[in-house]
């Protein structure tokens, strides 16, 4: 992951420069480069595909608009995710009154199933169990406050380091650290509520 990210970083600068010069293809390359990661983040934040799609699209459009002002003080990747963070948080804030029941339901057609890449030695039962575990985890994640969830998603799902996350959420390193810690603990507590026996056996 690291290597890929760095490789992208080097070439990003060039692509950004070209995109700023009016090369639409360069921007398209940037989009295709990051759309999956961005979409995944949005999906984990919004917990449904429609909102995630909306958000991802808005982020790219915002990026396209703001690109002329992008001064490469951070990497394009960080900048993009920072736009995403702002947008998602404000969007979710606006939609707070949405009923959450539906969001807790697993997406019947969600790509989780296909992408889970079932190993051949996996018994169907363990597969089911795994999916159930994913579902509970997603439900717990969705109950987490946005500020905490964002940090958790960026760290544990996207695998970014603290410094990058700090840039993205525009908070000091210490805040990131504390939010991540508390977010994980809260998640843990929620999961223990749902699956007490598992919680005990693990601890």
């Amino acid at each position: 992951v690291n290597r890929a990210a760095n490789e992208a970083g080097v070439k990003d600068a060039e692509l950004v420069r070209r995109a700023q010069g009016g090369d639409a293809a360069a921007f398209a390359a940037l989009v295709s480069r990051y759309q999956d990661r961005l979409y995944n983040t949005c999906y984990r934040m919004c917990h449904n595909h429609a909102d995630a799609l909306d958000a991802t699209q808005s982020v790219f459009l915002k990026a396209l608009e703001a690109l002329p002002g992008f001064q490469a003080r951070s990497s394009f990747f960080t900048w993009l995710f920072r736009i995403a963070a702002n947008l998602i948080i404000s969007q979710r804030r606006a939609r707070r009154r949405r009923p959450t029941v539906a969001l807790h339901e697993p997406d019947p057609d969600g790509p989780d199933r296909e992408l889970a890449a079932p190993r051949e030695d996996d018994q169907p039962a363990s597969q089911v169990e795994k999916e159930e575990s994913h579902r509970r985890l997603r439900a717990a994640l969705d109950r987490l406050d946005d500020e905490f969830r964002l940090v958790v998603v960026l760290k544990d799902i996207e695998g970014m380091d603290y410094a990058t996350i700090a840039q993205i959420v525009a908070a000091p390193l210490g805040t990131v650290k504390s939010r991540l810690h508390r977010g994980r603990l809260m998640l843990r507590a929620m999961l223990c509520e749902q699956e007490p026996q598992r919680g005990r056996s693990r601890v």
Partner: protein, 553 residues
């Protein structure tokens, strides 16, 4: 188990887990963990949660995203280009073709069909029906199906497949960059010379050998480089087969439309040159297994060819413009810009800062209406979609052009408006002006387009579908009841429709090809040159430059 000490570490547990704790602090924590069961438990919990989160499958962006992005970017670019004239940023020609042009073409075809239906519903001759079903319906249905396929958000799967297949995978980008870099080092003239040997004209176009002696930049046809990275031998073979199929001539008969929408490929005097396949095995290792093909195609064909390549090699196809200048010029001439911009301005009464969101819905509605025969819905949509452009001062030119076909026929206001629009459009591409004057292109009336354009200006006309065409019918349509259309007339009409469509799609490019024997003023063919470069997949990732700094801890 000293509580104060545990408190002291607190958040450090997470940081330790993530490897973000300074070494000394980490050592202290490790020491503490050895003796503190409670903190060990917490640490295990944290590790469990983090591990489970990391296990969550990664979700890939759905296909609609890329489709939507293409469209959105295109619109954005369009608006920026029209706004205080910065650099015109041309989103790919293909986005244009597949997004708006094909859409409008579909609309136009649909419109034309309705018009034809309405005109002829009384006495359609067998020949007409046959010809129409062969020529028109196939093409229009195909266009519509393709369009709805890529547009319809409800049909998620096809759209995803479409878009997923169309986005080049990252290694392709890298390889293409590399290929591009290699070429850029050679002098441009030399490159053009190579081109001259390699190019093949397909259909209608003769080999424009004389244009290759000059630098690429001076070649007057836009050139698209298509990079295809074959992942394995089977894929390479499939791609080669596809390309080989495109090197075969297609029947020149206008009525022969065996291949549905691809009939333009044939043009007139078909003269397919020898297939040019240069397997560069003799070159450096870098170029081993690399083949180049070149085609001269109409935009529609080019689109189709690239679609096919994308089918054969999903996500392994990348498009580049060898000569952006021409694409840009093409875009400037592009009538569609006008249509879209005008619509935006008319609707809001002022230049707009953001595109309205309903364009695609409208077009979708249009396509559905066409397919389910809901004429009313279509009319409502189309009359909203196309607006007449009111620009004065071009009347003279318009009169000249339109006068050729119909002499002293009085002009309806709607037609006048339409002519203004046309004239203004013609004005844009100064170089294309003489082509636009060809009577056959305009004389037959822009079928649905004129009718649609009239919708806003003359509301009374909106009541009868496609009214203006009724007042300026194509010659063959004048007496359908008494006289069954002759094959010549049918051909003429089919050709005219093609021209209208081509006109709408790409102005000057298609015309020459669509009109091979243009009797009075033969025009040089101006197809798009498509160069397909088949590249081998990288053998091992180790060959990629790995000399990048690794700042991440």
């Amino acid at each position: 188990v000293a509580a104060p000490e545990c408190d002291k570490f607190g958040e450090d547990l997470s940081a330790y887990l993530d490897g973000e704790l300074p070494r000394q602090r980490a050592a202290e924590l490790e020491q503490h963990l050895l003796g503190c069961e409670s903190c060990r438990g917490t640490f295990e919990q944290l590790r469990d949660v983090a591990g489970r989160l990391a296990e969550l499958p990664h979700v890939r962006a759905p296909g609609q995203l890329s489709v939507a992005m293409r469209r959105a970017t295109e619109r954005q670019v369009l608006l920026e280009a029209r706004a205080p004239r910065r650099k015109i940023r041309v989103w790919t020609l293909f986005a244009r073709v597949s997004a708006s042009a094909a859409l409008i073409a579909a609309c136009m075809f649909a419109g034309w069909h309705v018009y034809e239906r309405v005109q002829r519903s009384a006495t359609p001759s067998v020949e007409e029906r046959l010809a129409m079903s062969r020529e028109g319906e196939k093409a229009s249905e195909k266009a519509l199906r393709r369009e709805t396929r890529s547009l319809d958000v409800l049909q998620v799967e096809p759209a995803e497949r479409f878009a997923d297949a169309a986005i080049p995978a990252e290694p392709v980008l890298a390889l293409a960059d590399k290929a591009k870099g290699v070429e850029a080092e050679a002098p441009i003239e030399a490159y053009a010379g190579v081109l001259a040997r390699e190019r093949v004209a397909i259909g209608g176009g003769e080999l424009q050998a004389d244009s290759f002696g000059v630098p690429v930049a001076a070649i007057t046809t836009p050139t698209i480089d298509v990079f295809v990275v074959a992942q394995d031998v089977q894929q390479a073979t499939a791609v080669r087969n596809t390309l080989a199929a495109w090197q075969k001539p297609v029947g020149a008969e206008l009525g022969g439309g065996e291949r549905g929408g691809a009939e333009w490929r044939a043009g007139g005097t078909v003269d397919a040159g020898a297939p040019v396949v240069r397997a560069g095995g003799a070159g450096a290792a870098e170029t081993a297994g690399r083949s180049e093909f070149a085609f001269e195609l109409t935009p529609v064909q080019a689109n189709e060819l690239i679609d096919q390549l994308e089918q054969q090699a999903p996500r392994q196809v990348l498009l580049r413009y060898a000569d952006m200048q021409h694409v840009q010029q093409a875009a400037e001439r592009d009538e569609l810009d006008h249509l879209v911009e005008r619509r935006l301005v008319d609707e809001l009464g002022r230049p707009v800062a953001a595109p309205p969101a309903d364009t695609e819905e409208e077009c979708q509605a249009l396509a559905r209406a066409r397919l389910s025969g809901e004429v009313e819905a279509r009319r409502a949509v189309t009359s909203k979609r196309f607006m007449p452009r009111s620009s004065a001062g071009k009347q003279e030119e318009a009169d000249e052009r339109h006068g050729r076909g119909r002499g002293a026929e009085p002009l309806a206001p709607a037609k006048a408006a339409k002519k203004d629009e046309k004239a203004a459009t013609a004005e844009r591409g100064a170089s294309a002006a003489h082509q636009l004057r060809q009577p056959v292109l305009r004389g037959g009336g822009m079928g649905g387009g004129a009718g649609i354009g009239a919708g806003k200006r003359a509301p009374d006309r909106a009541a009868e579908p496609m009214a203006p065409p009724a007042s300026q019918p194509p010659p063959a349509a004048e007496q359908p009841a008494t006289q069954p259309a002759q094959p010549e007339q049918l051909r003429a009409r089919v050709a005219r429709v093609r021209e209208q469509l081509g006109e709408l799609l790409f102005g000057p490019f298609t015309r020459a090809v669509a009109q091979p024997a243009a009797a009075s003023q033969p025009l040089p063919p101006q197809p798009i040159t498509v160069r397909v470069m088949l590249l081998p997949a990288p053998q091992a990732p180790a060959t990629q430059p790995a000399a990048q700094p690794v700042p991440q801890p």
